[in-house]
Amino acid sequence: MANVRVLVIEDRPEESDVLIPSLESNGFEVAAIARDLKEAFERMHDTPFDIAIVDVYLGDTPDGIAFAESLNAQPNLSKPFVFLTSSKDRSIFDRAKLTKPFAFLLKPFNELELLYSLEMAVEKYYDDEDALESSENAAVMAEDHLFIKKKGALNKVWLKDIAYVEVDERYCTLYCDDTKYVVMKSLKQMEQLLSPHGFIRTHRKFLAQKAMIEQIILGEDTVILKGGHSIPISDSYKDITKTLNIL
């Protein structure tokens, strides 16, 4: 599990001084703070981040919009972002709303509003509406990780760390080396999300990452995974062994 890294682009320290403690107290990690457009572009390239919070006005010019536009324009750098603004003046929004995804945070804001805006940015960016509505066990699939909401806070779980997934009614439990995460998604949903990333079904209720499989004991209908996990394998899924080169 990892913290969600936030790139803050805010010219006024008094604003960032309010924003940063709020982020940190909610489990976010501030990747960097950029004070102007130049810095913003530099950080965009040299600092990995998951979400950007962009003040529309950097100084007296709406450079925040320019940054969002260039972020949008580069597919390999593209990330979810939130606009920070103190005015609902249409003249600003008319240009800002052309960027995608479009989420904004109106100043002054409370912590809930901050979290909500970040969630909205993630939901919209990864096109998973209301996925983070629940304060517990909500998840959104990103490129190589999952955003998982735990105790109201967003966390990041790398896919490479997930050994297997076990379903229990409407919930799925993700097992990593040392931790497990419960997400409110069906196995079918999880299978759809994970199969492109090297996960296979071993059982009606289990989904395993191929890369994590150490051993398949057919006699005992058991699959041994890295980290000492063992999961069952049912007859109907035994032909998966053909796709594995391990044995």
Binding site: V18, S86, S87, K88, D89, R90, S91, I92, F93, D94, K97, L106, P108, N110, E111, L112, E113, Y116, E129, D130, E133, S134
Partner: protein, 580 residues
């Protein structure tokens, strides 16, 4: 040019003895016969001869005269009368020799001797004895007593003039003829006057004095035209024809010649011609009458037409006038309308400008003020955290200050939003919103206040409470409603927030346990939501703006804003949204 013989023209005018037995003659005869004593006058033959003479029956006169003269016991005086009778009759019959004989048998004692003498001259004239005739005429003229002798002086003068003319003694001819004409003019006898003119004209014509002759010919012709005497007219026409022919006016001459021919023919059957003329006259008159009638009718018709046209024209004129007036009125009113609408547009433009300026001012002022108040609010919060818990008085002051800052901030926020909404400069983007996620974002701001008043809050917003609205405007509405609800909820009261699907709407209810409102108070609050009330008291002014703002935003979100309240039973605000 050959000059035609004017002698062709009738010169003779034997008015003295012949043609008619004049009135004068009758009178003289009667008088002189009465002078003769004895009953001889009653003698049959004499009486016959006398009677027939008066009746101008020449043949009978000659017969009875002869019988009387052949009688042996004839009265010598009466015999002389009878000779005169017979002589005249002979003359009339053209028997000039016998006439001369009879006249010669009359002695110089005969009472009308001058008449007889003149008659002799007449006979001589007829016989071509112009010299002798002239001598006698001149004698007669010298003798005078024309009236007693029943002689027309003008005739004698005339005859004398003719004689001179025939003798080519034009000087004397002119003298006598003019004298005759002069006398004839006095008689008013048209026939004679015409004869006079003709003779004078001939006289001049004979002398080639055309300039003098032609006016007389014309006069004669014109006068002749007025008479019914065909002979005269014929003569006058012939004269004119000859004259015009000689002048070279052949066309005119031919016309006169035709006229002459017509009259020549007419002479033979004057009666018929006269009748025809009468008929023609009548016909002409009738035709004329008809023409006149027609003309009158035409005139009447024309007048009627004229009248009609005039009426028509008047109608058209009146119509045109009315139309023109209407047009002018229309133009006038149109102009007035344009002017007033121009004024209105101008005023509206300036009002719009003013309003836009006001909104702009509002938004700038409230935005900047809001930022300052926000700063104040934040520092107050920090201050509160720093205040030691044992200093209760300071803590209370800081809390009070915080409350004021919050209230002011809320008011400024409303003002800003109101200004933005009014100028339509607010960003408004409806999208699917989860009330379950939104409500806590607003409620969290009121947690300190709720804690302070120890108000218990229950929230029942299910996950299916998804609405279609603009996120921020819903928050503004909710903030205002909660502000108000908490303000009126007493300490230890309760606040319930619940959402419920109602058909295609989601109803969000905010119920407080406050004192509620009377129907009058409620009506006032609702009234504030629909219109600007300047009389609203200062303490409620914030609420007024809040209510209005809520109503406006709810309607902009295609939702509705309702307040239910009962005195003593709390107030419920119902926000109805479009279900997503």
């Amino acid at each position: 040019m050959t000059r035609l013989a004017i002698s062709l023209l009738i010169l003779f005018f034997p008015g003295v003895l012949l043609s008619q037995v004049g009135k004068e003659l009758r009178t003289q005869l009667k008088y002189h016969l009465q002078q003769i004593p004895g009953g001889d006058r009653a003698e049959f033959n004499f009486e016959r001869a006398y009677t027939y003479f008066l009746q101008e029956q020449d043949d009978s006169t000659i017969i009875y005269s002869g019988r009387y003269l052949s009688k042996k016991d004839r009265n010598s005086q009466l015999a002389e009368f009878v000779h005169y009778f017979r002589g005249r009759s002979f003359y009339n019959k053209g028997l000039y020799k016998d006439a001369g004989g009879d006249f010669a048998n009359i002695s110089k004692n005969f009472p009308l001797y001058n008449l007889v003498h003149a008659s002799q001259a007449e006979v001589l004239f007829k016989q071509g004895e112009y010299d002798t005739a002239l001598t006698i005429y001149l004698n007669v003229l010298e003798g005078g007593d024309f009236e007693k002798n029943a002689i027309s002086e003008s005739s004698i003068n005339h005859n004398a003039g003719i004689c001179y003319m025939l003798k080519q003694d034009y000087e004397n001819a002119e003298k006598y003829l003019l004298r005759s004409l002069d006398q004839q003019l006095k008689t008013k006898d048209t026939a004679r006057i015409i004869g006079g003119y003709i003779d004078v004209a001939n006289l001049y014509y004979e002398q080639y004095l055309d300039d003098k002759a032609i006016p007389n010919f014309v006069k004669a012709y014109e006068l002749a035209y007025q008479t019914d005497d065909f002979v005269l007219r014929r003569t006058a026409a012939l004269n004119m024809a000859v004259v015009e022919e000689n002048r070279g006016n052949l066309e005119k001459s031919l016309a006169f010649r035709k006229e002459y021919d017509q009259w020549k023919d007419s002479t033979n059957n004057q009666e018929k011609v006269w009748e025809i003329a009468q008929i023609e006259k009548r016909h002409l008159a009738e035709t004329k009458q008809r023409e006149i009638g027609l003309l009158q009718k035409k005139t009447r018709l024309a007048e009627q037409e004229k009248e009609l046209k005039a009426k028509e024209r008047n109608t058209i004129l009146i119509g045109a006038g009315v139309l023109l007036l209407v047009l002018v009125l229309i133009i006038y009113f149109y102009y007035q309308k344009i002017r007033s609408s121009a004024i209105i547009a101008e005023q509206r433009e300036s009002l719009d400008k003013l309003n836009a300026f006001k909104n702009r001012l509002f938004s700038i002022v409230s935005h900047d003020l809001r930022s300052s108040v926000h700063g104040l609010r934040r520092s107050t919060e920090q201050l509160r955290d720093e205040v030691p818990s044992e200093n209760a008085q300071l803590k209370s002051l800081v809390n009070q200050q915080g409350a004021i800052a919050n209230a002011t901030y809320g008011m400024l926020d409303n003002l800003l939003n109101w200004a933005l909404l009014q100028s339509d400069e607010i960003y408004f983007h409806a999208e699917k919103i989860s009330l379950k996620r939104l409500v806590p974002q607003v409620v969290i701001n009121y947690q300190p206040l709720l804690d302070q008043k120890n108000i218990s809050l229950s929230t029942d917003v299910p996950a299916d409470g998804k609405i279609y609205a603009d996120n921020d405007s819903v928050k503004i509405v909710l903030r205002n409603v909660l502000d108000n609800a908490i303000k009126f909820t007493p300490e230890n009261g309760s606040l319930d927030i619940s959402a419920k699907v109602e058909g295609n709407q989601i109803a969000l209810r905010i119920k407080d346990s406050g004192p509620g409102m009377t129907s009058e108070q409620l009506a006032m609050v609702i009234d504030q939501s629909s219109q600007v009330s300047k009389e609203s008291g200062e303490e409620r002014s914030g609420t007024g703006l809040g209510v209005r703002l809520c109503a406006s935003f709810m309607s902009k979100n295609n939702g509705s804003f309702h307040i239910e309240s009962e005195e003593g039973a709390g107030t419920t605000v119902i926000l109805r949204f479009e279900k997503a």
